[in-house]
Symmetry: C2
Subunit: 200 residues, 2 copies
Amino acid sequence: MSKVTSDMSLSLDGFTAGPGQSLDLPIGEGVGESLHRWMFEEPELHAEAIAAITAAGAFIMGRNMFGPGRGEWDLGWQGWWGEEPPYHGPVFVLTHHAREPLEMKGGTTFHFVTDGIEAALERAREAAGGRDVSIAGGAHTVNQYLAAGLIDELRLHVAPVVLGRGERLLAGVGAFDLEPVGTPSGSALITHLTYRPEKG
Amino acid sequence: MSKVTSDMSLSLDGFTAGPGQSLDLPIGEGVGESLHRWMFEEPELHAEAIAAITAAGAFIMGRNMFGPGRGEWDLGWQGWWGEEPPYHGPVFVLTHHAREPLEMKGGTTFHFVTDGIEAALERAREAAGGRDVSIAGGAHTVNQYLAAGLIDELRLHVAPVVLGRGERLLAGVGAFDLEPVGTPSGSALITHLTYRPEKG
């Protein structure tokens, strides 16, 4: 059965991005490559984790992950990823501002959803065609889905860095137990931990 | 060469204890056995991790870990651990209030140190007789030693629970890289992660 998953790279102190995210600093101040080096420098070593991320049939992200803009859309903005984003499937962007779907090269289409996280999940499930739905980020969006009990499998990729400040994952999500899945693994750049949140 | 180590059990969201610690709730509200079950329910499975904790020759703890009292000492209070505490060696308690050393059964002696974390570490190193010094907790004390760059090996024992509030480890310690030591391991109750903080 298809699952709702989320893969998040985060610091040892729980941050997925620094403060002050902007056009010039998409992941915020003080972060640099520290959280995502593993994907670019050691792709073979982490092939299984990377394959799991890209296995989803549809993706959901917050507007802040799609771009630095706020308020009404700048229709020239087409995301951070250039002409051919790495999703290769439908991506549902949570926003308060309606916008026509945006079709990119390589199979990625951005859909803009204005009626909340449950509605976005419903549309993503339909679009995923039986494959998993991935909550792609950022922290605030994943926290919303966690708080609502809507994530089946949380895959944390913990980088060996303390950032001290930024966007915190697992904040404001209440208190709950989780069930570890598989065994932890990793390299000097990252530790992979997978959990199933227990449903209240 | 002997090291300064710290073993901390914490929740996935980074808390080592809940709020409202008291005589009746030494680990605070909402925590129960969740963080420490692994030591009591699966001691054989985690024999190596437990042996590493007890290998230290001297220990340092904050006053809040020694007892719920504040201000002047209640001399009747001899710690949470009964007549024979599990340390079996010298334990240096950080406090603002002087007190004579307290000798317990089984080799544990509590010494009360009023001149700060560096002085306590110096005394602990001398007392450890070439073995490691363990910063035993709580979170605030470990954070102070981390911020001062005085911990050589940080061993985190991450429980599969989100607590949502409490005493946070790795808070107020600045920003720094760490080097993972060995490979992560664990069971359904706990994940062991070991790091060396890089010295600025």
